[in-house]
């Protein structure tokens, strides 16, 4: 080997090593979110762009997926043991299952006792924790409420939303008589209907019933007569035919379109409802000032108060292989400034203390007021329970509505899945 070739070899080796070092500095964060609405997508893209500008060594690869598509795709990568670095999560039982299987990164040290941790209430961290360890962070935490079209309600003489179940049923009958679809329901996606049954159960049994059921103190579990009665009351409501034609095959987007186009009077939905209604309406403007929201009515003789809330929110979980940059980016996403912007742009109910100043939308402010005043908070049942049990709850409610199972049979199915864990 001549001296010249030795030198060349040396230079090349050096270049390789140096290149390798430069490469090592470069980290990629894979981020999966479900903000498909135009305003969400643009805002989240900007958050990422701004972060990358300040941290040029980080590359953020964004995958935007529609809600249902996201669930299927995530399942596949999870079963393959290869989670994205940051991904949409509703916390609860699904998050617990991933944490249990070691698929998530424990970020407790970044949360407990830190400024990041203190920026949110401890209750919201609970939703993204399992066995005392934190695996993700929420940016949005709200409640399921009735969203209604003020104009359509006024047509049948209702200026405010009923606060009792009896009055609610009266309203439904009046709307029906006036030729207006009382309730839009995406029954094919199941979970929108599930919220209706779980709210009736919460109003009948109160938060205590739910707590006793999960702790095992309520020995009959979901076969407790109160849960069965809730199923019967839902069946009685369905007998009034309050939902649009073909609701059992309808998707949540169909539900939002009916509301956004002013063709149905109300829907029972989370804080994102106005945004999705707008996005699914034919003129992309939604109901605007005609839209309002109210808590699920109280039921006479029930143990639950109107201030008890079923809700939840949105956040991102951290995958097991995520680089520290992913956690830093998560902190950046959930800083006060961004959380405020988020509240402004897509009417989330911000989790960061002080970010509520961003809430300009009167509807979002109303949801925030309902959540702030709540005396009991239950995470959505299908997210709180394991995927198998949560899925069975969704099926059971659909079977009640389709008349393919009696309330007692439906509750027996839930209990069986719940006990099987």
């Amino acid at each position: 080997m001549s001296r010249k070739t030795k030198l060349t070899a040396f230079v090349m080796a050096f270049a390789l090593v140096a290149g390798g070092l430069a490469m090592a500095d470069q980290v990629t964060v894979n981020w999966w979110h479900i903000g498909t609405a135009a305003n969400d997508k643009a805002m989240l893209q900007k958050f990422a762009d701004d972060y990358v500008k300040a941290n040029p060594n980080v590359k953020i690869e964004i995958t935007v997926l529609e809600n249902e598509a996201f669930k299927s795709k995530l399942t596949t990568v999870m079963q393959g043991g290869n989670p994205p670095d940051l991904f949409q999560s509703w916390g609860g039982g699904v998050l617990a299952q991933y944490a249990q299987a070691g698929l998530l990164k424990d970020i407790t040290k970044d949360v407990k006792g830190t400024a990041f941790g203190k920026s949110m209430a401890s209750g919201v961290w609970q939703v993204y924790s399992y066995n005392g360890k934190v695996y993700g962070a929420p940016h949005d935490m709200g409640g399921i409420t009735f969203w209604y079209n003020k104009e359509l309600l006024a047509k049948v003489g209702y200026k405010t939303f009923p606060t009792t179940w009896d009055d609610f049923l009266k309203l439904v009958k009046k709307l029906k008589a006036a030729g207006i679809t009382p309730i839009a329901l995406g029954g094919g996606d199941k979970w929108p209907a599930m919220h209706m049954w779980s709210y009736i159960a919460l109003r009948l049994g109160g938060g205590q019933l739910f707590e006793d059921t999960f702790s095992g103190k309520n020995a009959k579990g979901f076969e407790n007569p109160t849960f069965i009665k809730a199923g019967q009351m839902l069946a009685d409501l369905a007998a009034l035919k309050p939902f649009q034609d073909g609701f059992l095959g309808a998707t949540y987007n169909d539900e939002a379109a009916l509301m956004g186009n002013g063709e149905a009077a109300m829907e029972l939905m989370g804080q994102w409802a106005p945004n999705v209604e707008k996005d699914n309406s034919s003129d992309k403007t939604g109901l605007g000032a005609k839209l309002s929201t109210a808590p699920f009515p109280a039921i006479k003789g029930g143990k639950g108060k109107i201030t008890e809330v079923i809700g939840g929110g949105n956040g991102y979980a951290v995958g097991k292989n995520a680089p520290q940059a992913a956690v830093d980016f998560l902190k950046y996403l959930d800083n006060k400034k961004n959380n405020t912007t988020w509240a402004q742009v897509s009417s989330i109910i911000p989790t960061v203390k002080g970010a509520e100043v961003g809430l300009t939308d009167p509807n979002a402010k109303m949801v925030k007021a309902i959540v702030d005043k709540c005396t009991f908070f239950q995470l959505y049942l299908d997210q709180f329970l394991s995927p198998a049990a949560g899925g069975t709850v969704n099926d059971a409610v659909q079977n009640i509505l389709a008349g393919t199972a009696t309330p007692a049979q439906a509750m027996a199915a839930i209990q069986k899945a719940f006990v099987a864990k």
């Binding site: 669930k71 299927s72 399942t75 596949t76 999870m78 079963q79 043991g81 299952q97 991933y98 249990q100 299987a101 070691g102 698929l103 029954g187 094919g188 199941k190 649009q244 034609d245 073909g246 609701f247 059992l248 095959g249 309808a250 169909d254 379109a257 009916l258 063709e263 394991s386 995927p387 198998a388 899925g391 069975t392 099926d395 659909q398 079977n399 509505l401 389709a402 393919t404 099987a420």
Partner: protein, 301 residues
Amino acid sequence: MAKRSIPGGLASRARFPTLVVFLAPALIVFTALVIIPVFEAAIFSFYKWNGLGPMVDFRGLGNYLELIQDAIFHKGLLHNFIIVIVSLIIELPLAMALALIVSDRKFKGAVFFRTFFFLPYMLSEVITGVLWQFIYHPQYGLVKTLFEALLPGVHPPALMGSPDTVLWAIMIVIIWKYFGLHMTIYIAGLQDIPQEQIEAATIDGASKGQIFRRIILPGMRNAVQLSIFFSIIGSFQVFDIVWAMGKGGPANGGETIVTYLYTTGFVRFNVGYGSTIAVGLFFICLLFSFFYERVIAREAT
């Protein structure tokens, strides 16, 4: 496989490297992606397992006992059989009738209609499902518009919104999508029948029905057999269209074995039991293949 002597000049020793080179890639891929997963699924099917982490909860035959009593599995199986039977008694005769029409030399628009009828088959399953979702949409769909135009005052049925009608709504889509394929198989079959035979029979005074029964149908035996085979296997595997149209719902009204398998394994994280369903389907298909070999294929020879 029985050993065969190789005709021609190549000795078997010279052929061995060729065999290795040409067979190995296919064999490796097939083993890795089909054979191994089949055995893995068989192992999973004895466990209660959510697909994440190690399998620890051995259930023995528990999953299989559950499968035998599972009402939704029975429903899915029944739906699959309905799809098979409707395919055989409606779709295939329809395809045959159309094939006879468009093969008629006197028929001027034959080429246009051949292409036209084949078009649905060229669409992807998911696109077909989404397309028909729009057609059936109870508020904004074509069916509703047609009802309003043709039968004012009659309330259009929300076919996808009832567990009693959803399967038939899906059935229409399946027939619409696949009859073109079967028609094309029959057209190919018809071309094998010597025109002279038909002409001779016509001269001898045979009626059209007699010609069909005595000449055309026997001459198309292979084509019919092939189309029956495709139809049955396709019916058992049907998934994409059903999933895109309503995920097997509402209330399991459109559930097939494969949608139930998918929901169990990939939506509910019940990979163990999902595998049990898959093994069940495997045996049903195996049973059918056996039956097909014994009855349909043997009859032909």
